[in-house]
């Protein structure tokens, strides 16, 4: 049945994360952006919130909540509304934990999941994006070649969230087939031989507080047990869809904040003694933004719901992520325009959101629901 109703649990959790995001993330967002810094204190708070541990099975010391991409989508919106950069960092370990939970063999789960329920923030990550222009997850260049007792991984990865500190990285590589079906995931500890893991050579346009790393895999040898899901491997399309929906959900949150801020600004900002919000040119931009924030959210919810029900969500994930990529950029663009010169200076947050929005809707594989 069609329903837009959240469960009580979802409402509660959303409220908690909203409060966290609107205070602890938003307050330090600008300073962290300027300094490209992820505060350790923040990660400690995140660990206390149990965003990742909460959904780990009780048998591995987790909270045992039901696995729910919809819930994660709601939380991603809230984190994006607070600060995308810090928000992505907060849930980056899920990039490792969720695929293990979803696709891992029992042995892999037993081995790899308990660390997320230990006290403190445990960093792990996934490496999807590659080191060439026009990246396309369906045409991956990192390859996993069968080798005695396992596989040999070769390729260049970029923009690996928390790659500077992750204990384990899930490396996405192509095994045989091309396309999303051919994607496989390999558990690679950071001290593996042949693996070079360095912080990104330069800062990025946006999401500056999110530490990311570049990986060189020069024939890294992994045992066959490192292949997620064992011989059956993973559902590559589902993995990519889970990531696409996450990026879109963050962008919905970021867009919502842009709209809220621009609305308040337009009411406060006087020209010739009257608020600029009373100009139709401005008011209609705000109305368009409101329309699109809603449209984006609904598309993302539907995609998340299909993922939750384990249907083939490729259609909805494509529609949602493609739509959000276009519309959220327009929203940030309008936000800047409404603020005028103030949209361009770093005394105001809008220019940061403009940069973050572009990064957020381009980078594949920095979030997962």
């Amino acid at each position: 049945m069609i329903s837009f109703a959240l469960t009580d649990e979802q409402r509660l959790l959303r409220e908690t994360v909203r409060k966290f995001a609107q205070t602890e993330l938003r307050e330090v967002a600008r300073a962290c952006d300027e300094a490209s810094r992820l505060p350790d204190e923040l990660l400690a708070t995140v660990a206390d919130l149990g965003l990742v541990a909460g959904v780990m099975p009780e048998s591995f010391g987790g909270g045992g909540s039901d696995r729910s991409p919809v819930t994660n989508t709601l939380l991603a919106e809230e984190l994006g509304a607070g600060d995308s950069s810090l928000g992505l960092a907060a849930v980056a370990p899920a990039l490792f934990a969720i695929p293990v939970l979803e696709f891992g063999t029992e042995a892999q789960k037993e081995q790899l999941l308990p660390m997320f329920s230990e006290p403190g923030f445990h960093a792990a990550s996934m490496a999807l994006h590659e080191a060439h222009f026009g990246f396309d997850a369906a045409a991956l260049r990192t390859v996993a070649a069968p080798a005695p007792g396992g596989y040999r991984l070769t390729g260049s990865k970029r923009f690996v969230p928390l790659g500077d500190r992750a204990s384990h990285i899930l490396v996405i590589a192509r095994l045989e087939e091309s396309g999303l079906e051919g994607l496989e995931a390999f558990v690679v500890p950071r001290d593996s031989k042949g693996l070079e893991c360095a912080p990104e050579p330069e800062k990025t346009l946006g999401l500056q507080a999110l530490p990311t790393a570049a990986l060189e895999l020069d024939g890294v040898e992994v045992a066959s047990e490192a292949r997620l899901g064992g011989e059956n491997g993973i559902d590559g399309a589902r993995l990519i869809n889970l990531c696409r929906v996450a990026g879109a959900a963050f962008a919905v949150g970021a867009s919502r904040t842009v709209l809220e801020y621009a609305t308040a600004y337009a009411k406060d900002r006087l020209v010739s003694g009257r608020p600029i919000a009373q100009k139709q040119a401005i008011a209609f931009m705000l109305a368009d933004m409101e329309v699109e924030v809603n449209a984006m959210r609904h598309l993302v919810w539907k995609a998340a719901s299909e993922l939750e029900q384990r249907r083939d969500a490729s259609r909805m994930a494509t529609l949602a992520s493609d739509y959000v990529r276009r519309k959220s950029m327009e929203i940030a663009d309008k936000g800047v325009q409404i603020l005028g010169g103030h949209g361009y200076i770093r005394d105001y947050p809008m220019e940061m959101w403009y940069r973050n929005m572009r990064a957020l809707t381009i980078l594949d594989g920095v979030g997962i629901v």
């Binding site: 329903s3 369906a138 337009a266 919000a277 109305a287 984006m296 494509t318």
Partner: protein, 386 residues
């Protein structure tokens, strides 16, 4: 729980509607070509069909609430045709005014009649407050004078609820609903509008030339409250989501057709492929499909939050704004993808391009919806954001 799947019962209802719509569609071209004819109240095939809801028991917690599912049912109806229906319901928009503003006696007297609403005038577009049609008291009667345009179902209806002012100084509070029945001396259907599309639809211009109606044809009281005006506006606003739903129905028809024809030419969307791996045509199909999906979800959302009561203003305007936009652009883009052949009246897609364009114009233009939304998020009155 957030869910967009359809239950078995939901599917049965939608399938039943689709079946009806496929039959209705056979009449679409005829009434487009012959705009002087009104489609019948029921098609001959009606004997084979019942309401799609009939025979389907509602299961609480399993089936989609009917007021929500009805968005999809209505969209499929418009997917069949906008103006031709398998069976027309006996009510007009004016019946809503009767119910809301009329006394028990008035309701009893006219409730079986189909009543239209006559609101818009040549001199007032989006501003109902500047109505010029007057009602002057003369003994026991009211004398009405004025011209009304864009009266939906103005030809077909048995009577019309006419918005007329009893005192221009009172502004919108002076605007009252009067029941004027066909055949009353001085009341005349001037003509049916010749339109770009929705030619099966009945849009009339009405003339009121010293029409004398008895005193009790004014619905409700003749006081200085805004109740009468509000009843008219509420009834008209009820059309807002209906028009939006029609928009997505027509847009879906165009997209379905386009997908089908392009598939015959070997072009179709491959899901899961990134943008780098798509053709320009696939990308455009994806964008159209996302637009229609977003517009549909917006309408479902508005229905959901309204909970079966009067549609709530903000979500409804959001949904209508999106649907009106999508109806325009989706049909424009579908034709461009199809190439010249889509322009021919051999196919219905050119008609959908014409039909769809109405949905961003009436039920409140896209600009009116944006004003409503902007006022709502800004907390402004219509004086603050005119």
């Amino acid at each position: 729980m957030v869910d967009f799947s359809l239950s078995e019962n939901d599917e049965r209802i939608l399938d039943a509607m689709r079946e009806q719509s496929r039959v209705v569609r056979r009449y679409a071209r005829y009434y487009d070509d012959n705009e002087n004819e009104l489609p019948p109240d029921a098609l001959p095939e009606v004997v084979n069909f019942r309401s799609p809801y009939k025979d389907v028991e509602f299961e609480e917690g399993i089936d989609t609430p009917r007021h929500v599912l009805h968005v999809l049912v209505s969209a499929i109806q418009a997917w069949g045709d906008y103006g031709v229906l398998m069976k027309r319901i006996g009510e007009g928009l004016g019946n809503g005014v009767l119910t809301a503003a009329g006394t028990d006696e008035q309701r009893a007297r006219w409730q079986r009649c189909t009543l239209a609403i006559a609101m818009t005038e040549p001199g007032c577009g989006s501003d109902p407050k500047s109505i010029q049609t007057t009602a002057v008291r003369d003994g026991d009667e009211w004398v009405l004078n004025g011209e009304k345009i864009f009266v939906t179902a103005g030809c077909r209806a048995e009577g019309v609820v006419v918005a007329a002012t009893v005192d221009k100084n009172l502004g919108y509070k002076g605007i009252k609903p009067f029941v004027v029945m066909k055949g009353m001396p001085g009341f005349e259907v001037s003509h049916r509008e010749k339109k770009m599309g929705i030619r099966a639809d009945d849009t009339a211009t009405l003339l009121l030339n010293n029409v004398r109606v008895p005193g009790d044809h004014l619905l409700g009281a003749c006081d200085d409250s805004a109740a009468g005006f509000r009843a008219i506006m509420t009834a008209l606003n009820r059309n807002r989501p209906v028009v939006g739903v029609a928009g997505v129905g027509i847009a879906s028809a165009a997209l379905d057709f386009t997908r089908e024809k392009l598939k015959e030419e070997g072009i179709e969307i491959v899901w899961g492929v990134g943008k780098q791996g798509r053709s320009a045509v696939q990308q455009e199909l994806i964008e159209i499909e996302a637009d229609i999906e977003a517009a549909t979800l917006g309408l479902l959302h508005a229905a959901w939050v309204s909970g079966g009561n009067e549609w709530k203003a903000r979500p409804t305007s959001i949904a209508k704004a999106k649907a009106g936009e999508v109806a325009r652009t989706a049909t424009q883009r579908c034709l461009a993808l199809l190439g010249g052949l889509g322009l021919s009246r051999e196919y219905l897609v050119e008609k959908w391009f014409r039909d769809a364009r109405i949905t961003d114009l009436y039920g409140g233009t896209g600009e009116i919806q944006r004003l409503i939304i902007a006022r709502d998020i800004l907390g402004y009155s219509s004086a603050e954001l005119p």
